[in-house]
């Protein structure tokens, strides 16, 4: 006999599980938190939701699960508004903030109450506690949990109904490296089973190791919606050159349309032309090269360049 709630090791079979935001907008007084945002989150991959702090990521997620009412546009789950789902926890699991639970209640009772509200069998509670590694503290009051344990309990709540769609808001915030590694692998395994996984973060470096697709927002507006590979190639590249005759080489590169930043010590950072062209130019000019290496711009830099005008509380350096 197969259980109606298989463990997460089995594959997710529902074919179509999508999140869709259409012209989503939200204002708080005169502040525009989310501005005409449209995107689709597809199954089978991890979709990263990136933006600086205060860019509207959490607000968007809250609107998707019906906690906040949009001022315009709509969000839907498999084509239906979240509020119309009969047993929402069986379709969508969400981790919105760590420790959104009563500190005096035990981990097991917290999950039991949730399970009861969506007619999820009680046996599933111990199953998910086991899955996230909290079985040993199931009857401890959640108020005493560390941040990492609280996060695991939140994840247990999200997967309680074995949903096809999962939303995680900053799931690795405040976790130790081991915890981060665990969350990362867990998210990837959920996506591999065919589920739709939507994860927010304000760290590009974090997403580059987890997400297959990225949606970047700044001040509530969509900036990028592309695959991670595309994002990497768009991030652009530069060439690092070292030569004892740097001044002559710099002039030659500028003449052929490149952009040069002189680094001192004979180093040049070149953009706009390829490494091969730089080598050919050097040969033609008879300039000795000590180093010629293409540089991949880091995603973090690309992300900062993208959002630098959209940081709400930027500090001046």
């Amino acid at each position: 006999m197969t259980s109606a709630y298989p463990g997460l090791m089995s594959a997710w079979k529902t074919p179509l599980t999508m999140i869709e935001a259409r012209n989503l907008s939200k204002r708080y007084g005169s502040t525009v938190a989310v501005n005409d945002l449209s995107f689709t989150v597809k199954p089978g991959i991890v979709t990263g939701f990136l933006g600086p702090n205060g860019s509207g990521k959490s607000t968007t997620m809250r609107m998707i699960i019906g906690l906040d009412h949009p001022n315009g546009g709509s969000a839907s789950i498999n084509g239906k508004p979240y509020a119309s789902l009969k047993w929402p926890l069986r379709e969508v699991g969400a981790l919105l903030e760590a420790k959104a639970l009563h500190p005096g209640r035990t981990a097991r009772n917290h999950l039991r109450a949730l399970a009861a509200s969506n007619r999820i069998p009680r046996s599933r509670v111990d199953e998910v506690l086991e899955l996230v590694g909290l079985a040993g503290v199931a009857s401890k009051r959640a108020g005493g949990f560390s941040l990492g344990m609280g996060q695991r309990l939140g994840i247990a709540a999200a997967i309680l109904g074995d949903p096809g769609i999962l939303l995680f808001d900053e799931p690795v915030n405040g976790l130790d490296p081991e915890g981060i590694q665990w969350v990362r692998e867990f998210l990837r395994s959920l996506a591999k089973q065919g589920r739709t996984v939507f994860v927010s973060s304000h760290l590009m470096s974090e997403m580059s190791q987890t997400a297959d697709h990225v949606i970047v927002i700044g001040r509530g507006k969509l900036l990028v919606d592309s695959s991670m590979d595309e994002m990497v190639s768009k991030a652009g590249s530069s060439v690092l050159v070292r030569s004892p005759d740097a001044d002559r080489l710099a002039a030659a590169i500028r003449d052929s349309g490149g952009i040069v930043i002189q680094l001192g010590d004979g180093g040049l950072s070149v953009a706009g032309i390829e490494a091969a062209q730089v080598g050919e130019l050097a040969a033609r000019e008879g300039v000795v090269l000590h180093e010629l290496s293409p540089q991949q711009a880091s995603l973090e830099e690309a992300f900062m360049a993208l959002t630098k005008d959209d940081v709400e509380f930027g500090g001046s350096l």
Partner: protein, 265 residues
Amino acid sequence: MTGTSLVPSVSSEWIKFRSVRSTVYTLLTTFVLCVGFGAIATFATRSRWGQEGFVDKLTFDPTRTSLAGFTFAEIAIGVIGVLIVSSEYSSGSIRTTLAATPRRINVALAKAIVLFVTTIVVAELCSVISFLVGQAILSGNASIPTASLSQSDPLRAVLLGGFSLALLALLAMGITLMIRHTAGSITTYVGILLILFIVVALLPTSWNVHIFKFLPEVLSESMRSATSQGSQFHTFTPWVSTAILACYAIAALIGGVFMLVRRDA
């Protein structure tokens, strides 16, 4: 959608309600305050019976006297009504709750059902035990009249008294759905119960006689009195008082549900 069943929401709320210690402590506090202060007040009445005036003796209501602890129980039971909602906001678990049950009216109804059923059981227990303890104390002096549950008016007073506490718990819950914060909600509830009372007392007598009877505390006193004689106040009949107090509780709940549904969580 033809009425999503309330049963899963109620069982979820019941698990939440019974799985925190504050629930048990507050219910216990309600009971102790009710029976304890009732006993003390009744004992004091017995001790000074000899000095009581002729009219006071003639209009003496042994039922109301034995239920004097209700003034304190009303505050304690209100705290339960506040906490069932405010603890969700202070901990942030309201978001978990509303994500699990997007039909917010069901969340409010389930909470109201769990609260009402629990408080009516505890409140009737408070009422009956306070009454029995009080009559036992009064019977220590043979010249003091006592009441019995086999008489219709004392029985009605004891049962409606318990009911008044459960209604006040619902009133507190409705207030908290609007205010959301623990301290603000308790202050508002106690304000309506006690401070409003003082404010009305400051009004000219020709006005306040007409206003007092509408105050929750006076309605509750009218419900738990076997006779309207001897009360400081000009009151409605117990059944009219019951209807008015029920209207307050329902109005507060409707206002609370309205705000719960409209506001962002």
